[in-house]
């Protein structure tokens, strides 16, 4: 090994090298960014192409729509991005709106309006907590003949679009079931536990809670009274035994019961 760079020139050389490195680095960065931006634009145009070719499917087929939405979210594109964000750069409007015209974007907003309607109409009977499946069914029922099908995924997404309004609308997971909440109210742990228990048979009783959750009678009664006063349970006194407290989401058609009971 020979010793290198002992002379004064070594300083120069090292400055040179680092300058080289720096310029090389920025070259790399630039070409990287270029490559990325071309990739992005290629991707974008592909996505656009895809969306355009399949616009009809996206609009009419809920499963396809859900898949497309999922694909978008995986790559970090929010298809429902607010239409007011980027006025300057190439036109505002969410991706849906840009790619598919207004119709798909409007699809979700219109759906959201229906969601609000159904939640409002049913609030009296369910205290502002409605099962996602039930909500989807009701929203579908109210639609015009020939309009496309609605999936639970669509409804979930529609509820998301309501968020910026600062309302109380939210998707809520209790046990295995998803609910849409339309009142600004948080459930306590005990309340959640009871709502979860209700999902099994459609009803609970003080005895059932006491035996299965190991709560004292007073605690069971308190939670049930709470939920009753919030309109989330209905009492059935004709049981010939203990009173039973029913979840209004079990108010289902007898032939639709399979769907709801899952």
């Amino acid at each position: 090994m020979s010793r290198k760079g002992v002379g004064i020139g070594a300083f120069d050389r090292s400055r040179l090298t680092s300058a080289h490195f720096a310029s090389h680095g920025s070259n790399l960065r630039a070409s990287n960014a270029d490559a990325l931006s071309t990739q992005l634009s290629v991707f974008r145009s592909l996505l656009q192409q895809f969306a355009q070719t399949h616009a009809k499917d996206i609009r009419s087929d809920p499963a396809f729509r859900a898949q497309f939405a999922r694909m978008c979210s995986v790559i970090g594109v929010d298809p429902l991005a607010s239409s007011h964000t980027n006025e300057g750069s190439g036109g505002g409007g969410g991706l849906w709106a840009q790619l598919l015209g207004e119709s798909v974007n409007d699809f979700y907003f219109e759906l959201a309006v229906r969601v609000v309607e159904v939640c409002g109409v049913t609030r009296g009977e369910n205290g502002g907590l409605i099962g996602l499946a039930e909500l989807t069914e009701r929203v579908s029922k109210g639609r015009m003949e020939g309009s496309s099908e609605i999936s639970e995924d669509d409804v979930r997404r529609a509820v998301e679009t309501l968020k910026p309004l600062g309302g109380s609308y939210a998707v809520l997971q209790v046990g295995k079931k998803e609910y849409i909440r339309s009142v600004p109210r948080e459930l306590s742990g005990d309340q959640r536990a009871v709502l979860e228990a209700v999902q099994v048979l459609g009803y609970v009783s003080v005895g059932m809670l006491r035996d299965n959750l190991g709560w004292e009678t007073a605690r069971c009664k308190t939670v049930i009274d709470d939920l009753m006063s919030e309109g989330m349970l209905w009492v059935d006194k004709q049981t010939k035994g203990e009173w039973e407290y029913w979840s209004p989401s079990f108010m289902v058609d007898t032939d639709g019961a399979v769907k709801e009971g899952e």
């Binding site: 009296g124 009803y203 009753m228 209905w234 009492v235 059935d236 039973e244 029913w246 108010m251």
Partner: protein
């Protein structure tokens, strides 16, 4: 008159084809709810059910005691029923909306208390009748009340088979508006439309 049947008689005809709403299979629907908001929702649902049921079976008057035992208020599959006090509360609720009216005593007899169920209010029937008279070019002519309710002319229209008293109530709406005039008595009443 044929139309003056009570709930139980009419329900026998084709009870199977009436599709009860989802809440009818919900046990708690038959217990009066304590929460005010819930109770109001419950009454609205019951009201809608009674009207839909009556419309389906073309029930014009409902005998309370018979109705309490009919499938309208008594779900035998669930073994749940709406009790008489709750039925009365429901009827009061519907009365405020002008959807029922207690029949003035006398007519019922063995049926006990009877209410008219207005799945169409007398005013709505009045409009139907007026439209029928207009469309068949019978303005200015005299029709008997019997003809309107039971005659061949109205066969196929909704007016056919209407309860006689409801029909008279509807005609009186037209009389008050100066659109018709009733004359004659009891069984031989006639009505002239202007």
């Amino acid at each position: 008159m044929a139309a003056a049947s009570t709930a139980s008689a009419a329900a026998g005809a084709d009870a199977s084809s009436f599709r009860f709403p989802r809440e009818y299979s919900f046990p708690a629907f038959f217990t009066r709810q304590t929460n005010l908001t819930t109770h109001h929702a419950q009454l609205s649902k019951w009201s809608a059910l009674v009207l839909a049921y009556a419309r389906h079976h073309r029930i014009f008057r409902l005998g309370l005691s018979a109705a309490a035992d009919s499938d309208l208020f008594y779900n035998r599959r669930l073994d749940r029923r709406l009790g008489m006090p709750d039925i009365r509360e429901l009827l009061d609720f519907m009365k405020k909306d002008g959807r029922i009216e207690y029949a003035s005593g006398g007519g019922g007899g063995s049926e006990g208390e009877v209410v008219f169920v207005y799945w169409r209010k007398p005013e709505e029937w009045a409009r139907k009748i007026e439209k029928y008279v207009e469309e068949t070019g019978q303005k200015g002519s005299v029709l008997t009340v019997y003809e309107l309710g039971e005659g061949e002319g109205t066969r196929g229209t909704e007016i056919h088979g209407i309860d006689n008293e409801v029909l008279l109530k509807a005609l009186n709406v037209l009389v008050r508006k100066g659109r018709a005039q009733i004359f004659g008595q009891d069984d031989s009443q006639g009505v002239k439309f202007f």
